[in-house]
């Protein structure tokens, strides 16, 4: 298929998909096309789209592409939709989530050790919000459940993948800069 033929279709599919559309999902629609070629086209669609548009944008999140409004228009969108700002996660939930994101897969006991706090109810909240999920059991006594972040986590925080998170070492440098 020609680029000029494929690109509009990709745009249409990113638009109708109800979750970030990944290259592997696109490959299932176009099994004859090379993955590299599909990715190249999708990247071009994204860049051209974002150059042209001021009201919407295509973003690379959770290993896929998704169309959203731009953050700077949030007040107008809220006013039209008549919605209040959504509830944010509590500090306890965010800290627990940070531990899980950086130490995954991780058990409840390990989270307790790092945070110095029992974090069961924060874990429950994060499970309810589908930001984390179970990842089998650890091969130690008691075989405790392991937890890791979900795809929803990437979408919720606008991350392309886990590698996009700053490393813990980068935070360490930040702390050193502050304390010295």
């Amino acid at each position: 298929m020609q680029k000029s033929e494929l690109k509009p279709i990709l745009e249409a599919l990113i638009f109708v998909a109800d979750e970030p559309l990944s290259i592997s999902q696109l490959r299932e629609v176009f099994p004859e096309e090379d993955a590299g070629f599909v990715k190249e086209c999708a990247e071009e669609v994204m860049h051209e789209f974002n150059q042209f548009h001021r009201g919407m944008e295509i973003r690379a999140v959770a290993d896929g592409y998704r169309i959203t409004t731009r953050p700077e228009h949030h007040e107008w969108v809220r006013q039209y939709l008549k919605v209040k700002p959504s509830a944010k996660l509590s500090l306890a939930a965010l800290e627990t989530l940070a531990v899980i994101a950086y130490k995954q897969p991780v058990t409840l006991a390990e989270i307790l050790e790092i945070r110095g706090l029992k974090s069961t109810s924060a874990v429950k909240t994060l499970l309810d919000k589908k930001l984390i999920e179970t990842r089998g059991r650890k091969k130690v006594v008691g075989r405790p459940i392991l937890y890791g972040t979900s795809k929803e986590f990437l979408v919720h925080f606008g991350l392309k993948d886990l590698a996009e998170l700053p490393t813990l070492e980068e935070f360490e440098e930040l702390i050193h800069d502050q304390t010295s």
Partner: protein, 252 residues
């Protein structure tokens, strides 16, 4: 600690007198308090004056107790750790013990723990900022091509256990409702408990009293639990003195 958070957390303790509310900040955990004390006094984290910090830490705990704020176990663990470090600092290096040429600073494990904690706090802050941005964008709401079925959920393992738990709760409620109208015999209650335990190998004793039930029913339930324990069909145990009692089916 983030100033905004401490304020809102203090506000949740509405029984704290106004005069004390200003002084007392509520920290999420012992490490948050320690980091706060260190930062406020501009202390070098690698050279913590352990005696002074311990004293301030214990003082804070004392105020918490005075205000009847529940002091959870982790606060006491940290207090013990601080006291232990303090006493180790007072000991002169033991010349009799060989193989310890480089005396390790007894504060180091705590310092490492605090630095680690600090990193995760920064990570949480980063997540907070990202979330703020993401909550200001919207995706495509149009549903023309989406599933038509009602009440669709995208299920994971947690949804399965949640659904099963829900079913077990309903099952238990059905049992309780059936007997509200009539008097209950010990035999009936034994049958009910057995079928409940077939579904759920472990039951919390308190779960029987979540519904409003008659005193008669309560007593019969208690007798049935005792009877089953006597017959060694179940084990009854408690992790801590005032903890909920757990009833576990004895595996055949």
């Amino acid at each position: 600690m983030d100033e905004k958070t401490s304020v809102s957390q203090v506000e949740s303790f509405s029984d704290v007198p106004e005069s004390l509310r200003v002084k007392l900040e509520i920290f999420e955990g012992p490490m948050d308090l320690l980091l706060h004390l260190i930062r406020k006094q501009e202390i070098d984290i690698y050279d913590i004056p352990i005696a002074r910090i311990t004293e301030q830490y214990l003082e804070y705990l004392r105020i918490m107790k005075e205000l009847n704020i529940n002091v959870a176990g982790e606060w006491l663990v940290m207090a013990a750790t601080l006291i232990l470090i303090k006493s180790k600092m007072l000991l002169p290096p033991d010349p009799e013990v060989p193989g310890t040429p480089l005396e390790e600073d007894p504060r180091m494990p705590l310092v490492q723990q605090l630095l680690e904690h600090q990193k995760f706090k920064s990570a949480a802050q980063m997540l907070y900022e990202r979330e703020t941005v993401e909550l200001s964008v919207w995706g495509n709401p149009k549903t023309e091509f989406q599933d038509e079925e009602e009440g669709i959920v995208s299920a994971n393992v947690f949804d399965l256990i949640k659904a099963f738990h829900e079913i077990v709760q309903r099952f238990r409620d059905r049992i309780v409702m059936d007997v509200e109208h009539e008097s209950i015999t010990l035999e009936q209650k034994l049958l009910e408990l057995r079928s409940l335990l077939a579904l759920q190998p472990v039951i919390y004793f308190s779960s029987f009293f979540q519904r409003r039930i008659s005193k008669m029913h309560l007593i019969v339930t208690f007798l049935a639990v005792l009877e089953m324990a006597r017959l060694r069909e179940i084990n009854v145990f408690q992790n801590l003195t005032y903890d909920d009692i757990k009833i576990a089916k004895v595996q055949a």
